[in-house]
């Protein structure tokens, strides 16, 4: 149902924070993303799912230019992504990312992981940055670990620190790249809880995830990708209730009958 306009799918009608038009990306000869068109509105929660290798991670990594793309355009909050380093840094200061493997800085304590970017990118004083960081750590429930190092925490705690780090720069958009895929099963819930809280607060989120419960609960729109293309997008109810394409039906059968 990619022909549906955004108006018909989402209830929110305000400005587009992310506009992706005709995006094509190749890894060598491999066509990883094919003609992607996607708009994300302010405050929207989008879940992207699909089989592995379908290009969903590549897509969101293009948004903060961790991946270069060859064709098409991405406009984030009015700024078009080009090779211009200044523009890339500006966009990155508005877009935060949470990674599958947390990617915390192991040589820095938790609190310094959080304050690094605010101090050096956003020119906050150490004091300001630290106060804000402690508040965020409190919000994700690990304020008492602030002086520890990442390797001393469990996977779930590390991912919550990573979310707090991403929030530290007061981003407009949060990108989640399979945030729960590397976690032990009993730790997934604590991370999802934090993400659900975030979603309710109205921040714009694009999540690549296989947590369908999360998608049903908070997503405004769910996008299904396969072989580098958007196959189907819809509201969660319709997406899960009446999937239209055969591939999506097959995919849902596979992951829901596990």
């Amino acid at each position: 149902m990619s022909e549906l306009t955004n108006k018909e799918i989402g209830e929110k009608n305000c400005c587009n924070l992310i506009e992706i038009k005709g995006l094509n990306k190749w890894y060598g000869d491999f066509h990883a993303l094919k003609e992607i068109d996607l708009n994300v509105k302010e405050g929207e929660i989008i879940v992207v799912c699909g089989p592995s290798g379908s290009g969903k991670s590549t897509l969101i990594r293009c948004v903060n230019f961790l991946e270069k793309f060859q064709e098409g355009s991405i406009v984030v909050d009015g700024t078009e992504l080009t090779d211009d380093v200044k523009k890339i840094r500006q966009i990155r200061s508005e877009v935060s990312m949470v990674f599958q493997h947390f990617n915390l800085f192991p040589h820095l304590s938790i609190i310094n992981n959080l304050t690094l970017a605010p101090i050096w990118v956003h020119n906050e004083t150490k004091q300001e940055a630290k106060e804000k960081a402690l508040k965020l750590l409190d919000r994700v429930g690990i304020k008492d670990q602030a002086e520890k190092y990442p390797n001393q925490l469990s996977g779930g705690q590390q991912q919550r620190v990573a979310i707090a780090r991403a929030l530290c720069t007061s981003p407009k958009i949060m990108l989640f790249d399979e945030p729960t895929s590397a976690l032990d099963p009993e730790m997934i819930a604590e991370v999802l809880d934090v993400m659900i809280e975030l979603a309710k607060e109205g921040i714009t989120m694009v999540c690549v995830t296989h947590e369908m419960g999360f998608a049903k609960k908070v997503a405004d729109r769910v996008i299904f990708m396969d072989e580098g293309q958007v196959i189907e997008q819809n509201t969660p109810d319709k997406f899960f209730g009446s999937p239209e394409s055969e591939r999506l039906q097959l995919f849902l059968d596979q992951i829901l009958t596990q």
């Binding site: 840094r89 935060s96 192991p106 690094l116 520890k148 991403a166 720069t169």
Partner: protein, 365 residues
Amino acid sequence: MAIYSLKETKQPPESKTKAFLWLKDNLFSSISNAALTFIALYVIYLLLPPILNWTIFDANFDLTADNQSCGREGACWSFVNANLKMFIYGFYPQEELWRVNTMFGLIAALVVFGSLIKKSQYRAHYIIGSFLIYPVVAFVLLYGGLGLEIVETDKWGGLTLTVVVAAIGIIASFPLGILLALGRQSEMRVVKFISVVYIEFVRGVPLITILFMASVVLPLFFSAGMDFDKLLRAVIGITLFQTAYIAEVIRGGLQAIPKGQYEAADAVGLSFIQKTMFVILPQALKISIPNIVGSFIALFKDTTLLLIIGLFDMLAIVGAASSNSNWLGRETEGYVFVAMVIWVILYSMSRYSKRLEVRFSTEHK
């Protein structure tokens, strides 16, 4: 189906602290292990007594004895005593020796003071300040100027020369090596090309060749009046040589940093320099500590090659001292002494590297 109650936590079984069990486990656990133990003991039995006899039991510790009264069955330590000043200061003028002592004393004081203010917030300023100011002070003390009499570098020698050359080589090659390693990783093709060519060229040439180039060939390119100091040329040669090795060691560290670290640093918006300074280099250097120190130890030992271009480092000065007709045939004592001094210095470096590794470890704090 069964339900199991939780088991109690117990202490581990008593460890084998008794000497007999330790011996059995570690030295005689199998027939081949026992055989190796006996062979090792036999080798020690063969080697240790003669060494101890020569250095201690048959040696003459009378520090005023001359070559004749010393005797020939053991070491004559008065040779070392008589030439100690030469071993340490080379041919530095007697009345100016206080300058060398001040230089060494100053660095010791700086290190001690630095360890006293470990907790201070100004420690970083102190260290950087010391690194900038001390070399200037040390140079003025050693060479002269500002009212001090000039002591030409051909008078420098012994331990002083060894330490000065090694220290300059270490301090200068470290930042240069970092830049070169980053250059080799760079996406800018020209920078990368130049770095690769430099590293591979220097690593493909023996240090002796570089020292010869610096002392013999290089002056040919200068017009007669422009000849500059031989020691300076040697130090530049050693530094350029060491830089290539340090660069490769640090590149190894850089390659061990997971891609995710670069991405996370990019994603939070750090610039290239910030990313390198705060995220990548601290981790890469931490991994590289043992190899960096290993490389510095090699450099320290390489300073003995200065002999070839006519500079008298600590090892070379023993030869000079023992060719004195009063002390013929006593070079062994000198070399043993020098070996011990160098061993103490290098072993300290090695221990210090271990301590740094522990200090920077964030695994189990």
